[in-house]
Structure formats: C-alpha cells, structure tokens
Symmetry: C3
Amino acid sequence: MANLTLDPDRLLPADSTLRPIARELYDAVRGLPIISPHGHVPPQWLADDVPFADPTSLLITPDHYVTRMLHAQGVPLHDLGVGQGELSPEASRAAFRLLCAHWGAYRGTPVKLWFESELVDVFGLDLAPSAGTADDLYDAIAEKIATPAFRPRALYERFGIEVLATTDDPADDLRHHEKLAADPTWHGRVAPTFRPDKYLEPATPAWNGLVDRLGEVSGADTGTYAGWVAAMEDRRAYFAAHGATSSDHSHRDARMEPLPVAEAERLYAAARSGAITRDEGDALRRDLLFQMARMASEDGLVMTLHPAVHRNHHAPTFDRYGADVGADIPVAVEFTDALQPVLSAFGTSPGFQLVLFTIDETVYSRELAPLAGFYPSVYVGAPWWFIDAPEAMGRFRSAVTESAGFTKTSGFIDDTRAFLSIPARHDVNRRMDSAFLARLVADHRLTLDEALDTAVDLVVTNPRKAFRL
Amino acid sequence: MANLTLDPDRLLPADSTLRPIARELYDAVRGLPIISPHGHVPPQWLADDVPFADPTSLLITPDHYVTRMLHAQGVPLHDLGVGQGELSPEASRAAFRLLCAHWGAYRGTPVKLWFESELVDVFGLDLAPSAGTADDLYDAIAEKIATPAFRPRALYERFGIEVLATTDDPADDLRHHEKLAADPTWHGRVAPTFRPDKYLEPATPAWNGLVDRLGEVSGADTGTYAGWVAAMEDRRAYFAAHGATSSDHSHRDARMEPLPVAEAERLYAAARSGAITRDEGDALRRDLLFQMARMASEDGLVMTLHPAVHRNHHAPTFDRYGADVGADIPVAVEFTDALQPVLSAFGTSPGFQLVLFTIDETVYSRELAPLAGFYPSVYVGAPWWFIDAPEAMGRFRSAVTESAGFTKTSGFIDDTRAFLSIPARHDVNRRMDSAFLARLVADHRLTLDEALDTAVDLVVTNPRKAFRL
Amino acid sequence: MANLTLDPDRLLPADSTLRPIARELYDAVRGLPIISPHGHVPPQWLADDVPFADPTSLLITPDHYVTRMLHAQGVPLHDLGVGQGELSPEASRAAFRLLCAHWGAYRGTPVKLWFESELVDVFGLDLAPSAGTADDLYDAIAEKIATPAFRPRALYERFGIEVLATTDDPADDLRHHEKLAADPTWHGRVAPTFRPDKYLEPATPAWNGLVDRLGEVSGADTGTYAGWVAAMEDRRAYFAAHGATSSDHSHRDARMEPLPVAEAERLYAAARSGAITRDEGDALRRDLLFQMARMASEDGLVMTLHPAVHRNHHAPTFDRYGADVGADIPVAVEFTDALQPVLSAFGTSPGFQLVLFTIDETVYSRELAPLAGFYPSVYVGAPWWFIDAPEAMGRFRSAVTESAGFTKTSGFIDDTRAFLSIPARHDVNRRMDSAFLARLVADHRLTLDEALDTAVDLVVTNPRKAFRL
C-alpha cells in the first residue's frame, strides 16, 4: 500500500542550479497570508460555522473539478451524489470508493496535487488513495471533520486566510456577510462579490422574473431601462457597503458597447415584453455591460471578466443535474476589438479597473499582455479554472511577462468552493511563480533581490492592488 | 565525412536529474510491441510481400514529409519522382542525391530523426547524408532492399508490429486484407480503416460518381438519402467483418448536425441531380457526418476526426501532381460548438467513441482536454502530421494532461506510408513521453511507480482502448 | 545602491550540461556583424551625423516599447515628452526620473535587458536605474552623448552594423540615402524600404491626397487604376535604384486577391471620387496588395507582411498624440486561406519572396511553418514587436523548426528606432538561438558541428537570403 508523502520541494525545478534559487524564493512566500479575491465558498459556512457533513459532500459532490474527470471515466454523476439532497452514509461511502478506485485517472492533474495536499496537510493522513485504502481514508476523514478543529472557522484561521471573497447574486441580502460582520468573535474578512450575469441576458427565459425581483429588492422600477440602471447602481452600493470590492462577469463574448439611448430603451422594452431576438439580446447585453463599466468607473468596484465558455454543453446532463456540474467547455475568445469601446471610454479613468481572465491561452501574449502593458486600468488575471495548474501557470508567466511585466497581473485566485483545497491551490501557485522567477535569476534576467521582491509582491501586493482590497 | 551514430539517450532531457529517470521510464517501454492504429501503408505490400523497388521510391517519392521540404528549397517535385510511374535507375539516383545534398535543410525536423534512425537501425549504415555520401548510401540501401530480410513481412516482424491499420475506401473489396487473413503463414494483424470522406462531400464534382459506385458495391439504392445511409451501414459492417475497428474522417470543419429528415432528403436529391450549392453541401455533409456518428454509436466503430486542413493549397501543384503531395496547409479549428449536437446525442453512449486530432494546437488546452475530461466517449488524439515531432509532443502533454490526465489520450499514431520509419516514429514518441513523465517525477508530481505504470499504459493500454483493438 | 553588471552568460540556459554548449555556440556568433533588414532609424541621423539632443529624447520619448509600460503604470504620455517638440532640460530630466522611479515595472521584460545593456555596454555605466540614481545616470548619459564617440556614425561603426534598412514613404525622395551614397567618407550601408500601406487603403480619408502626391512624384496619372499601378512600379524602381531590397506591408488582414480588372477600375474610380464603402475598400486593398506581389515577382523586391494589429486602440490617445505611441494592440490573424490566391499565382516564381511576420503566435506551427516548409518563396519572419523577447524567441524556434527547419526563417530583425538598443536586441536573439540550438545538441538532435554551422547561418546567411541583401 503506497505511502503518501509530500516532498518539500515539489513543483520546484529539478535542475540543481534552479532548485536552490526557487527554494529561497518559495521560502520567502510560503507562509504569507492567503488573499482569495475570487471564489465560491458559501458565506453561510463561515457565518454559521456548521461542521461538514461527510467526506463525499465535502470533497467530491460539489467540486466539478473532481466529478467531471470521474464522469469522463464512465462514472455517472448520480453515483457521486450530484443532483441529490443529503447523501445516505452508504451513498457517500460508495462515491468515495469510486474516487479512490479511479485515482490513477488524476495523474498529472492539479486535482491530484490538491487532494493529496488535503490528505496530508489538512487531515494528517499518509495513505495514497486506491480501491484498497478508500474505506480507511473515508473513516479517517469522517472522524476528523466531526471535530471542532475541522469546523469552517477553525480551518479559516489555520489556513491563514486574510480575505475571502464570495460570489453573490445582486438580489442577495448578504445576511451571512452581515452576520459575520456583526460577530465580535469573528476576526476574518469575508467580502461579497457582485455577480449580475443573469440580469444582463435579456433574451433568456429567466430574465424577466429576475429583473422583477431586482426591482423589488432595490426599490427601483425595473420596467424601464433607466430603472434597471438605477436598480443596479443601488445594489452595487449595497454590496460596496457590505465590503464588496469587485463585480464579476461572464458572458459568451467580452464585448461592451453602448447603444444610442433610444435604441437601448427600445430593446429593453422589447425584452420586458418577452419579444426580443437573440441578436437584439446580445446587443442589449453589451450595452448593459458597458453600463456596468461606467458604474465601475464611478463607484470603484473592480470589474472582473471571464468570458467565452460554452455553458452546459451536454444537454442531457443539464436537463438532469442543472448548471455547474462540469459540463462547461471553453471556446476561443477575442478581447482587443471587443474592449475597444469601453477602454476608449474608461481605459485611463482612475476609478476604473478591469481584470481580464481567460481559458483561451492564445490571448495572453497576443492581446491581454499588450492591453495591460498600455492601459493603466487593465490587469491580466491569473490562469484559472481549467488552467489553474502548474504547466499552465508556467506558460502564463512566459506569455504575459515580456509585454506586461509582473505588476500588471492580478495575483492568484482560487475560484473554488472546495474550501479545503484553498491552501493547496495557493501553494501550487507560489511554487510555480517561484520556479519561474528562479529561472530569470539563474539566467541573469533578474537579480535575486529583484526576484525576492517580486515573489512577495505577487502574493501580497498584486491581489490587493488588482482587487482594491 | 561525418560518421552517423544514434546516441542511446537521444531526446531524453539533458539535465542530470531528469535523464536517469527518463532513461528508466524509456527502458520500460522501448521494447514493447508497436500498435499502429492509423496509417497509410498499402496493405498490398504485406499481402504480396514484394521487395521494395529502389531507395527513392521507398524513401522519398511517396513521403510528402520528405518531398515538401525539398520543394521549399526550390527542388521541383518532378525531380523527386512525384507524379510519375516507375523511376528509371538514373532518376532514382538523381533524386536521392538531391535529398542528400539538401540534408542540412532538415536540421531540427523529425524527418532528420526518422531518416537517420532508418539508416542506422534499419539499414545498419553509419554515413551521414551529404552530397559526398549520396551514392554510397544509395548503393548500400539498394543492395539491402533486394534481400529477403528487407521484404515487407520480414520488416513487419523485425519491427515488432502487433497491429497495423490501413486506410481504405468504403467501396474497397479489402482483398489484400482477406488474402492476409487467409494466409496461414502470416501471423500479423493488418486492419482496414473505413475512410468515407469523399462520399460525404455532395457539392464536389466527383460525388455523384462515387455514390453510384457505393450503390453498386453495397447493393443499396443510393438514389435516395435512405439508400445512402443503408449503403454506408452495409459497408461499415463489411469493414467490421474484415477487422476494422475505426472510421476516419477529415473535413474542413468538425461540425456534425442532423437536418430534419425532409430537408436532408431534399438536399440529397438536389445533390444527386448535381444542383446543390456549396452551403447546402456543407449542411448536408454535417448531417451525413452526424449519421456516421449515429452508426458508430450502434456498430461500435471508433470515430476519428482530424479536420481543418486547406487541401491542395497550391493550385498548379494540384493540377500537375494531384492530392497528397505536401501542399496541404492547416487552418484554425473549432470543436466545442461544432461537436455540441453530436455529443449531446451520443457523448455518453457506451457504443460511441470519438478520437479528436488537431494540428491547431490552441485547442488542446482550450477545447480538447476539457471535452475529454468530461465526456466518456471523447479521447484526445496524439499530435500528428506537422506536429508529430518532439517539441510538439512536449507541448501536447503539457497542454492536455492537466485537464484530461493521461488516460483520455489516444496513444501514438504514426499516420505514415513510410513503412520503414514506423519504428523510429514510435520510438521518438516513447522517448518524449518518457521525458515528460520524468519531469513530473523529478518535481514530485508523480512517484516513479506511477510514472512507470503510465509510460506502459501510453504505449499499450491507451491505443487499445481508444481504438478498441 | 545596486551595482549594475551584465553577466557574460545571461540568457544562456542555467543547466550545467546545456550552458557550456550554448556558450560555445554563442561565442561563434557574438562578434558577427549586425544585419538589420527592417527597422525605423531615421536615415537623417546617419546622413547628417548630428549629436543626440538629450537622454530622454534619445532613450524614452520616441520609443513606444518604453513609454507604453510607464503609461500602464499611470504615467501620462505627456510627462514623457510624447507629442511635444523639443524638450526643455527640466522636462527631459523629469521624464528620465519617472522612468528610473518605475524601473521595477520592467522586470521580466526585454526593455530591461536592452536598457541595462545600453547603460553598461554603450555608456559604460554601472548604476542600476532607481529613483536614487536617476540624476546621476541622466548626467552621465548627457555628458557622453555630447562627445564625438556618441555621434550616430561613430556608433554605427562601433556597433558593427553591416546593413541597416530604414522604412520610407513611397513618395520620399530618399535624399538622406542619396547623401550617404554620395559621401566618400561613409562606408556603411543604409538601405531604404518601400512602405506603401497608406496608399493601399482607399476607404481612409487621407487616401486621395496621398494618391495625388504619388502621381506627382512618379509622373503617372493616378486618376486611374492603371496609373496607380504605373506610379507604384515607378516608385519601386526608384527605391530599388537607391538600394532597397524589400517592401513592407501591414494591413488588418493578410489577404491578397485580384479583382476582375473592370471591377478594380470601378472601385478605384469610386475611391477617387470619395465614394467607396469600407467593404469595397477592403476588396480594392486586397487587389492592390496582390498587384504589389505581382510587381515583387517581377522586380524582385522581397515582400514582408505583418498584419493584424488594431492600430490606435485608445481613441483619446490617438486624438492627442497621433499614431505609433504604444496604443496598437494585436488581434488574431489568418494566413492559410488569405494567401492561397497569391501563393497559387507566385508561390514558386523565382522572383517572388515573401517574409511573414506575426504577433499571433498560434500561426507559427499551424500556418507559417507549414507554408514555409512547402513554398520556396515563403520565409517565416522572426518574432518581432511584442514578441521580440527571450521567452517568445524560444517558443518561436520550438514552434517553427519542426516543420520549416532553420533555413526558411528570416533571421533577426530589430524593428526599432531606438538606435542605441540595436546591439542589445541582436545580442539577445543570438543568445536565445544559441540556447535553443544547445538543447538540440544536448539531446542529440544535432551534432555540435551542425549547430555551429546553423548558429552562424541564422545571423549571417538567413537574413541575407530572406531579404536579398
């Protein structure tokens, strides 16, 4: 039975010249606090500090990074607890066994790195997952998470988290954030993020109901275009008052372009009456997103953009399980032309700040680094989602640095609801950035002092600046 | 006169930490049998076991990897024997001299690696090609290929080939495959592959004649859409009965999308009467390709797709020499949207299996790895054609592994009619995969045991599984 | 205060196996003359040999590589002297201080490498730029450039420049080139380059005025399409007679496609009367560019193409400062389809030669290397502009070599008006090519002799051949 250990030098370059340099850089950043400006941890977990239920619903079911690869091996999502309520003990254990039995399929993926880090560093276990170790691992984890030391707040402390941003609906009352803020025993910082995507897609069936609700919570009359704008301004202010520093946006393309007011009003009215075409819906959405940018330039909420994902690619999976279960597939993206109107309008406005994320790596050297290397408002987002992984991180720094340097990159985001993986995710990034910097030192592009300074900046200064924390 | 040798550590990383690990991994796979599930060796060569005619018609004329680069140096294809029948001894020798005189142009290309491996490993020669060595090399090779040890069957044995797939027209009677199957002295496995591209392009001039012929060989009435479908089902069954496990498809784009039956019938009738537009032809082709996928989900032939090549780019070359002479140039490709209909229909069907090849490397991390990391039916094809080369192989593993792992990749295909290069091509791939895995071991992403297990899988398990061999 | 030094092994791989090989290769090329077949140094500098005015107007203001990154840090272009006439001593010093204060923002960029090389190698200084060293550096540089040793001609000699190509308007009388040619004390070679972009964009406001002027200088009647063609033929001949060997072209896309003559004449007439649509303007431009290729196949001027940049992306910057101030942002590009007509027409014509540059790196392995690996007329241009940088150079060789080898690449171009950075730019490229070749030697893809031969070719043979120097 394979013994599981974590080598202290993991991910650092094997080369005997590079490794000691990388180790010195990594040592300078490994213990720094975690700043997590974009993620999906439910704020209620920390507000209520309830114990996690069972290993599967903590580590498998909600994490599409994990479930999608089992699905690719032929395991039905249902067998992993997806789309169900609370799992029976038998179902939970069975799902955990499936994960362990297919552990070999994760070789070379970041999930393997994160999960093994969780086993060793978070749970103190030393068993490699396999069919033969599944029950022992399950029992050991189940035992741990029943203890106070594994409650969410205790882990937040232990992980050294300084800021944790959540992702929230504009109509959300942010009660969990309020509860945390009002709790004198709580010393962390959990900030909401304004995520209005669904309210900007006027051609989708749910839109009218959502906009009705938006009117209710804001007190604005969302029957008109002007009312929609007023409602959004109101909710953004509400979020800012509750600690939000950014809004987050994901649509099929990155375009933001204002319509003539009369045209915007006409399309808005058409959408409200349910009579808008798909093309008109796109045009109105690009106008509404431009409005968001205009608001950002005024209220200072950082705008983060991560477009170009074909959501819910497999229709039967969506029909059965809904969204966010691992069936989203990226597509090519274009930023240069798409952002020309908004950057001509706000690209040098002091209030405006735009962080651009991509899964299409081709834009890093071609578009994002050149944009961030000219516009003071633009930051290149860290590699995320499918490319939040060591090889991709190396390619990212290689592609972006020569045109944008280090200062115009966002710092790492973990983008996860897998709360226990947060330290491992940040750690992987710190190691890979140390590896990249070590190479620049070894071939005399940077001095060691410059690299040390930059390594710390990437962990601390950059996310604070990019996300205005 | 430069002496030609092959370093036993060639292509393994130079780093003193990595090389011993890579060597250990490579030693575990170097002697494994060759599985070649996609290629272009004429089955007649093995069926009839005729000696190869002369060095040029064996090594140069039919191999567009070789001829295209000489053409780029200004050598007319005619001077290399292209587009002619049998070569005179003088013409053959002259072409061989041209290759040797331009040998420097192949530096850094895989052709150099393959060809030098053939000289040393297959022919036992130790002369580096150059103007000064051309005649000696020519004579030595000519002498060898006249001997029984260099007949196709003897080389098949010597190369350790376990399976060799050919590429065949749906109307082919597969007589060479039958002859091999009926021959008690033959112990190899040569499987046909169903390649129906030309029958799916209704707007091309040749289509009606081809579809007539398809009707003849299948006995179906291809005057109607239903007849075309029946004919294809019949020929697929014929191929399967003769050992085929896959069908191979290459069109300008990757889209497969069913038309309403009446519309498909209408367009089919229009095409049969020679009155179909190019756009209609595309729409019908996408429907026919969807039908192919539907058949695949039923008969279990693996579907391999390699779209997005601008065929016969140089009109004068096509006019003089026809297709497949090195004038095909890749274009950008899109898979995510294009495959949505077919994967929503068959993506989780147990019978359906789809291997996606590309020359546009941008889709590896953006589309192919995410698709293969979700759909049980999808495999990422190995880098092929222009990117069947060491640097590209490294990029491939780097781009694909983090989202799809190793298990959802196809294993190597050599895609060649250069029979003598098959061992070298597989060897290069084994070396590069060993190099990649060695890096994961050296920086502690995999244990050595995991890497050894994976290295063997990539050579043996993956192609068997991806191609259902 | 950090001491600034240049390590002799900078940019060579740190690995102890690779570095000695790389060093041997680099030693073979470091002292070779500089061939600069594409750049933007004003010919007047050398014709008149006037001293440089001050450190800022020499090193900062005209160099958008430098200014754009300060702009991205929030520094207004105005504060760097952009868009102004001669700078006051105070303004010049203040701009230099801004650069030094933000020096950290250049970490990891090639600007840092070039600028530090200029300080050490050209000026003999050893102070790292910072807020604290700005004035000392400024004063030291100011003192040097006032001396005869820092006049343009003296530097040209000292840098070992063999050929320097400038970029010139078709209507230019090339008087500075004539002055140099007539000067018996001048032994260098400064060649003009024919850059007719603006004359090929019939839908732009300036076009009619430019074409009028073209008629004047050529004596052709540019009122008609035939006259435009005659005028261009005349000016190309004029340039060729003054030493030009190439014409340079940059448009939004790469397409060249002839119109039927009557249609070309109709669109030309419409454009001359100011009544051409944007789409018609594109069609006519593609015809005119095809005409340029036809002329090239006859007069032998090498055609260089570098399409796909969104010029003047930030409207307010363009309104205030005009073009070429760092606000150009690349977009995706397509070559395969776009060049099919012109390569079918001239791809194997002995007179025609086409060098293809890109900032969209995705085309290197997908399109450019396959094109250059088939067409004798096609060369892949070196990475330039945003990707004229070490990491990108490594990716370039990795992406291009396996399909095009080394012989079908252009050799380095510096593309700069930063005259003092020319040696550093070429040196960086020589180091990176040595590093790439060293890896091929270390893993036995090339012998050391082959690599040495190739290293020299890349510096000397390739640019001479690609640019017909």
